[in-house]
Symmetry: C2
Subunit: 297 residues, 2 copies
Amino acid sequence: MSSGRISELDLIQRISRGIKNSPSVVRGIGDDTAVLKYTRNKYQLFTCDMLIEGTDFFPDTAAKDIGHKAIACSLSDIAAMGGKPKYALISLGFPRKQAKEFISGFYKGALALAGKFKTNIVGGDLSLSEKIIVDVSMIGEVLKKNLTLRSGAKPGDLIFVSGSLGGSLYGRHLKFTPRIKEANYLVSNYRISAMMDLSDGLSLDLHRLTLAGKVGAIIYEELIPVSGSAKSLTEALNMGEDYELLFTTQPKEARRLIKNNPFFKIIGEIRKEKHGLKIITKDCREKILEPKGYQHF
Amino acid sequence: MSSGRISELDLIQRISRGIKNSPSVVRGIGDDTAVLKYTRNKYQLFTCDMLIEGTDFFPDTAAKDIGHKAIACSLSDIAAMGGKPKYALISLGFPRKQAKEFISGFYKGALALAGKFKTNIVGGDLSLSEKIIVDVSMIGEVLKKNLTLRSGAKPGDLIFVSGSLGGSLYGRHLKFTPRIKEANYLVSNYRISAMMDLSDGLSLDLHRLTLAGKVGAIIYEELIPVSGSAKSLTEALNMGEDYELLFTTQPKEARRLIKNNPFFKIIGEIRKEKHGLKIITKDCREKILEPKGYQHF
């Protein structure tokens, strides 16, 4: 594990330790979204995602694609909780040069995707900035019975992904459709024990899911659905930005799911914590799966 | 009016035109916060504020002060609606150099102020960025009967500010206490017809309040409470970042308010729209008040 990686976890833990929240906060830092008390049978979800030029997109990325991705990332977080999006705010920093063209393109992409998922853009903040910066904050809601946290996986549960992995950074990360419909189908029809979205790569995100649930996991190289745009299995494991769902469910539910919907793929099984995180290679060797996905710093 | 100014209004209007929201959005773009349907007697408030190094603070600004200001700006928006803050998310971009020290100082300032106003920090997003960027999104709530929009001012209403203006950029903008308590006192005890926070300077923000209410206004130079740190009346009119409340109420309510609480200062009167925006100088000449406050671009 790199020092950078320890540092990220360490920073988040430092921040979390300083925070004391009221009982109306069902879940604060540490999942795809915060979970807040709301009505008798629903929770409210609250999340934000910041995208920065040079890291999350590039100087030549089309404004429309930046707008699409900014909304898509927050929608993906809401999906991962089993919820539905409701409202979004967009904070946008952009250079003075060609500001009107940028804003026009950006909102074209953002509004098209928000409209598709019935998300209301209710405000924001505009600032000048040398580099383009976008932060989308989003409110969603979830039926209490449908809430899926990262932490619910149990030994024996099977591990699924909602689509193929790897190679997203060659273009798909700017065009992906967040898995709102798939997630809502899953939580409405199956008992999903844990769920998160794959933003930083399967190996790192599965590591986080096992940490949250205090469990271990084993996955199989030959079961991993590798995207046509990925250059290697390593990219499917570590490249990040797939924005597919990673979720777990008991074997009985899993059988029912794959029978009804072969779109979702089993990639492995949850084990007890002491087994750690393992991968079975195509030649049947068991190796430690190193969490090598994208680290923000 | 400069071309930059037309451009800002124009951009916001362009964005607004493209947006069609559901009936659950009581107020979208155009006030200090969005207003959303919530419970039988309350609305939910939703706002965000982005601060960028070089514009809203400087490379030598203490991390603690950046944390304080980031929370304070969103609290000020919630206050301006007559509401109370509940939950906040913090998106933070920062350079790799001295990241731990920065994060530690930033959260010290942010958590101290959030705690003071019972605001739960429920999550956020951390990214590496060459320059420091902060975006705070905040959820609040307001009793329906207490909601104060920018648009409610009527001819004959008196115009108030909650404190002295000008010179904030010499230091106060990093240390100010948002007017949550004062705003809650006002809306709980008086019929406030319109309210907003003074972020971009009295002349520009009063211009916005009159546009929203389709009214005119006249203010008096000698009534404007000029801060001890302001170098001139011009700074009190145009410098921005005062984060005081600007509000209006009928003369009868105004008399009751100043009798009970001389802390709030009358600065003028709302007129019909056709009168435009005027200022009476100390030597009793009537002049057009040009909206010359801070323009974001």
